[in-house]
Symmetry: C2
Subunit: 362 residues, 2 copies
C-alpha cells in the first residue's frame, strides 16, 4: 500500500497523542520517523511502531517523558531522556551540540535513560544543514553482534552516522549499522518472505544462515567485515566504540549484560552520543564546502565498474528516495498497515489509514 507522508504524519500523531506523549515531542518524533520512511530507510520509520507498541505495553516506555540537561560545560552536556522514546531527546541533544559548536568550534552531548531514536543519520544531517560536521551514534536494546572468535552476541547493531555540508551538492550523509547488515533489514526480509545473503548471520550450528527469522531469533550477527580475515575485528571494534561513546560515557546500559545485572524487567536505558564540529574554526570562509564539492564531484565522475550502476555517493540514495516519496507517497507493507491500524484501535486513536483505504483517496 502507498501512503502519503501527510497521512502517516497524522496517523502517528494520533497514536502518540493517545499514548500521552507531550505535543512538542510528538512533532519531533514524527519528523524523525518520517525522515526515515521518506529517505527509503524503511527499517527505522513507521516499521518500528509495533516494537514501540510492545515495549510500551511491557511498561518499559515513559510517554510523558521529561528531557533535561543534568550536567554541562560550555562545550559538553549530559542529557537525561526521562525514559521516553529517543527521537525528541535526540533532536534536543543535537540542537544543543550544534549551538555550542558554533562559538568554540566543537561540542559533544551525551544522552542516557533513552530508547530507540530512529535513523542516526537524521541527527548528523541536522548539523550539516547548519553548516557543521555532525556525528551521531546510539547503543541498542539488544546485543546482536558476535565479537571476532566469540560464540555469543555482545554488542547491538550500534549504528554510526556522519554528515558534512557541501555547497552545490547535498550534504554528505552516511548512516549505518556496525554489523554487516542492520537488524531492520532482517525484519524487512522476513516480512517480505525473502532470504538474507550468506555472511550476515550465523545459525545455531555456527554456520551461516540465509533465513532472516533465524537471524532475528538467535541474534548471531557478524560484525562489518564478516570474518577475521576480511576484517571483522574492525566492525566489532566500531560496535564497541559506539557502545563506549553512547552508553558507557553517559551512564546507559551495556545491553549484553543488562538482564543479568538488572533483571528482565529493567528498562533498556539506551544511550546516544552527538558531536558537532565547526569547519569555520579550521579553514577560511567557504574553503571547506568547496573542497567537499570537489570530493563529491570527483566521486560522481568515477567510471562505474558496471555500466549503468554509478558510484554510490553517501546521501544520494536517500535524496533520490525523498524526491520520489514526497510526491508519490511511501510504500508500506500490507502486514505493517494492518499492524498500524491494530495499534491505533488498541489505544482508541482514530484509524486514519483505514478511513483513507475505504474512501480510496491519497
Amino acid at each position: 500500500m502507498i501512503l502519503s507522508a501527510d497521512l502517516l504524519d497524522r496517523q502517528l500523531t494520533a497514536i502518540f497523542t493517545a499514548w500521552g506523549m507531550r505535543p512538542d515531542q510528538i512533532a519531533d518524533t514524527v519528523r524523525v520517523m518520517l525522515y526515515a520512511d521518506l529517505s527509503g530507510i524503511d527499517s527505522h520509520g513507521v516499521s518500528m511502531m509495533p516494537a514501540y507498541h510492545r515495549i510500551r505495553a511491557e511498561g518499559k516506555l515513559t510517554m510523558a517523558a521529561v528531557v533535561r540537561v543534568v550536567r554541562q560545560t560550555p562545550v559538553t552536556a549530559l542529557v537525561d531522556a526521562g525514559g521516553g522514546l529517543g527521537h525528541a531527546a535526540g533532536v534536543f541533544a543535537m540542537n544543543l551540540a550544534v549551538e555550542r559548536c558554533a562559538g568554540l568550534g566543537i561540542a559533544a552531548v551525551g544522552v542516557r535513560n533513552s530508547n530507540h531514536y530512529g535513523a542516526a543519520g537524521f541527527y548528523a544531517r541536522m548539523a550539516a544543514e547548519r553548516g557543521f560536521i555532525g556525528i551521531a551514534t546510539t547503543s541498542s536494546w539488544k546485543a546482536s553482534i558476535v565479537p571476532t572468535f566469540g560464540s555469543k552476541p555482545m554488542f547491538g547493531t550500534n549504528p554510526i552516522a556522519f554528515a558534512a555540508p557541501a555547497g552545490r551538492n547535498p550534504p554528505f550523509v552516511m548512516d549505518f549499522a556496525t554489523s554487516t547488515a542492520a537488524i531492520g533489514k532482517f525484519t524487512l526480509a522476513h516480512r517480505a518472505g525473502k532470504k538474507i545473503p550468506e555472511g550476515w548471520a550465523l545459525g545455531a550450528d555456527g554456520n551461516p544462515t540465509t533465513d532472516p527469522k533465524v537471524g532475528l531469533d538467535l541474534r548471531l550477527l557478524t560484525p562489518l567485515g564478516g570474518t577475521r580475515e576480511q576484517g571483522s575485528h574492525k566492525g566489532y571494534g566500531l560496535a564497541a566504540m559506539v557502545d563506549i561513546l553512547s552508553a558507557t560515557l553517559n551512564g546507559g546500559s551495556f545491553a549484553a549484560t543488562r538482564e543479568e545485572r538488572y533483571g528482565k524487567e529493567a528498562r533498556f536505558n539506551i544511550g546516544h552520543f552527538f558531536l558537532a564540529l565547526n569547519p569555520a574554526m579550521f579553514r577560511e570562509d567557504g574553503e571547506f564546502i568547496a573542497e567537499m564539492d570537489h570530493m563529491i564531484d570527483a566521486l560522481r565522475a568515477v567510471k562505474p565498474a558496471e555500466p549503468g550502476q554509478p558510484v554510490l555517493v553517501h546521501g544520494d540514495p536517500e535524496e533520490t528516495a525523498r524526491q520520489e516519496r514526497m510526491t508519490k507517497g511511501i510504500p508500506v507493507a500490507d502486514s505493517l498497515v494492518e499492524e498500524l491500524r491494530e495499534i491505533a484501535r488498541a489505544c482508541n486513536a482514530p484509524d486514519l489509514i483505514g478511513g483513507r483505504s475505504r474512501t480510496g483517496s491519497a
Copy 2:
C-alpha cells in the same frame, strides 16, 4: 633477524640526525615508530624507513620542520606540520587536544602540511593513558580504496584509531585501516613471499587477486565490507569520513586528485585529526572506568567459537606483543635490515645494525 628496541632506537636516531631532523622531533618520531614495532604493528614502524628515505630523496620531506599552531579556540586548534614527517606533529597535536579537553570536556586538533605519522593507535592511546577517550585519524599519500560500484581508487587506506581508559584492564585501543586490509599488510606479504587472501584487492581484470604485488601496483583495494552486499559502502563511507576530518577540514590534499590538481612534484600534504574527550564531564568519578572494566571482562568471559582461540579484545594483541618484544627483541625481515643499513650508509650515519651483527651481541 631479531633486533632490540634499544638498537633500533639508536639506529633510527642516527639516521634522523644525519637527515637534519630537530632533536626533540627525533625523540618523538622514534618513540612512535618503535611503539608500532614493539606492538607487533610491523607495517607502521621501521618498515616505513625505505618509504621515508625515498620521499626525502624526491624532495617531498622537510627534515628541519617547524610545527606550529596557526589557528585556535579554547577547544580547537589547527596545526601546520611544516612539511615534516607526521609523528612529532601528531604527538604535539594530541598533547594539545588532551590538555584542552581536561578543563572543558572535549577538544579537537587538526594538522595539515604533514606526512605519514606511523600507527594512529599511538595517538589515541596517549589520551587513554591520561584518562581520556582519544580518537586519531589520518589521510594517506595515495588513493587505494575503490568506492562501491567504482573502477578506480579514490581514498587512501585512511585509518581510524579509538582508545578509552579502563581500570584494572589495559586501555581499549583499536586502530585499523578502513580498507579490508592495510596497505602495510600487502608490503609485508610481498616481502615474505606470501599470497594475500581473496577479497582484499582486485586485479587489472576487475577480479580478486591474491598477489600482493598486484595489490601494491594497481591499488585497487576493497573498502571494509568487501562487496556491496556485505557492506562495502560502510567501509568506503568510513574512508571518506576519515578524509573529511583529516584533510578536508584542515586544508590537506585530497589524494585521489592531488597530482591532477597540483602536479607530480607536489607535496603529499597529508592531514591528521585528533580528538580528546573527558569522561569526568559526563559521569561521576570512577564510574566510566568501572564500566569499561565490566565490558572488557564480559568480552574476555565469552566462550570462544573454537577452543583455544579466545575472543579478540582490542589492545590485547598489541599488549601481548609488547611484553614479548620488550624482552626478546623485535623480528625484522633480513631484506628490511639490508635496506636500513643501506639507508644509514647513504646519509653517512653509523651502521649500528651491521656493527651488532659482526660482533654477535644483542
